[in-house]
Amino acid sequence: MAMRRTTRRKLGRVAMYVLFVAVLAVVVLSADWDRFAQYFLRWDIAREQFPQIITVALRNTLVFTVVSFVGGLVVGTVMALMKLSSIGPYRWFATAYIELFRGLPALLTIFAFAYMLPIAFGVRLPFAPVGAGLLGLVVVAGAYMAEVIRAGIQAVPKGQTEASRSLGMSPMKTMFFVVLPQGLRIIIPPLTNEFVLLLKDTSLLFIAGSTIITKELTTFARDATTTTSNGTVLVMAAMLYLLVTIPLTRVVAYLERRMARSR
């Protein structure tokens, strides 16, 4: 006897749920949770990490993120303007820069800045060794942001430039007072996204090496894992990352909805 179409669909859905819960249960039940807790969820070890995991590790992660974001914004703006320039060599340089540092793994770039730069120029950057690695992160951030900023600038209607120029404003003044403020507003959502990506990429700074006071979250957790022979601190670091990134991605979603409405 033929079932009604909606009944059949409902039954199919129930079967999918049952299968899903069954798989989940098998995975959860087959794990050895006591052993897991022993290696990854030790309260005594967790408690020992305070306050350094916040006052040093999380703080450094945030400071490095902000520094590389602001630096990347400056580098990215310069590269975007060069890429939009009418002067050929500027355009070529910006294109080469963007292609190079977007094409390389961030880890390699940080490594290069941390070790190659001091050797090539015989300089030690402040906060060595992490300072040089941070410069590498700025350079990578600048390459990614350059394309976003360029898109923002190009999204500003041509009439804005024409109105500004017809008032006697020079190309430079037009860019800084009329086009850039509008372009940056347009790209707030992708820039916030870039901030989240950078926050995670600060974990790559471990390759530059670190001292006790320059450890960021991942380095801190890796070192603590070695000294305690236990993975609890890695879990703590993971939770601290999420504590920052999840609210931020909510902010991005909110900003995107607001932008969509205002258009």
Partner: protein, 262 residues
């Protein structure tokens, strides 16, 4: 420089504007976009204080002509003198010339990230070097003139099209220009908002402002214009007193165009 100008009216030109020179003098102006020639040799003179309206079918080159006067379009060849200054001379500071030429666009082009007052003050402060107080005072005078004294704190998005266009006019006036260019200033407006903008333009004309207006408003052209120019296919077809041109057009092309729009 002088030999090159022998074909037209040999007005001596220099870098400094001269009071006795016509406001705008265009001699044999050509402009091409790629293979497409939009202006095919335009010559015309706008005297100081004159209101010249330019009409014509779309694609006839009216806007391109107007935009050439403040170099938003770079002419392919020809000469443009603004108050006796050859603006195509590489020695001439285009930004300085532009401060003397107000421009009003079809799409208003107000700066959306600034308040009305901010829109009016930006170029005064950044280009003319006026202090904030002085700039705001000039801005308020001009806002009062266009009937929007109470909207100085508003953002453009919160104004109607007609209000935005009046703010745009006030923004241009705040630079104390010697002449104003209007590029279809009422074409993007709802019909009931056109009147306010035309009223402001009429006031300006009565105050003796030199104006070049690309428009489809035949009523405005007839009542306010000192001269009417009809363009077609990159050329000036007819140039004369608006009442006469509109009442008995001499050229068949003018007749054809007017029969469609009137």
């Amino acid at each position: 420089m002088t030999e090159a100008r022998m074909t037209g009216d040999p007005t001596p030109s220099g870098i400094e504007p001269r009071a006795d020179a016509p406001a705008i003098e265009i001699i044999d102006l050509h402009k091409s976009f790629g293979d497409h020639e939009v202006l095919k040799g335009i010559s015309l003179t706008v005297q100081t204080g004159e209101v010249v309206c330019v009409i014509g079918p779309s694609g006839s080159g009216k806007s391109t002509l107007l935009r050439s006067v403040n170099l938003l379009e770079e002419p392919t060849s020809g000469t443009i003198l603004v108050e006796g200054v050859d603006i195509l001379d590489p020695e001439v500071d285009v930004d300085r010339i532009r401060t003397r030429i107000g421009m009003v666009f079809q799409q208003f082009n107000l700066f959306p990230h600034m308040t009305v007052l901010g829109n009016l003050c930006l170029a005064q402060q950044r280009v003319l070097g006026r202090g904030r107080k002085e700039a705001e005072q000039v801005a308020r005078e001009n806002l009062a003139k266009v009937g929007l004294a109470d909207r100085e704190g508003a953002y453009p998005a919160h104004l109607s099209g007609g209000q935005q266009q009046r703010v745009a006019i006030a923004r241009s006036l705040s630079m104390n220009p010697d002449m104003m260019l209007f590029d279809e200033p009422t074409s993007a407006l709802d019909p009931e908002l056109v009147g306010d903008v035309l009223e402001v333009m009429r006031t300006l004309a009565n105050e003796g402002m030199t104006m070049m207006v690309v428009t489809h408003e035949m009523g405005f052209a007839r009542e306010v214009g000192d001269r009417l120019i009809l363009m077609d296919d990159g050329l000036v077809v007819e140039d004369g007193d608006p009442r006469e041109v509109l009442a008995n057009p001499q050229e068949p092309r003018t007749q054809a165009f007017l029969s469609k729009v009137l």
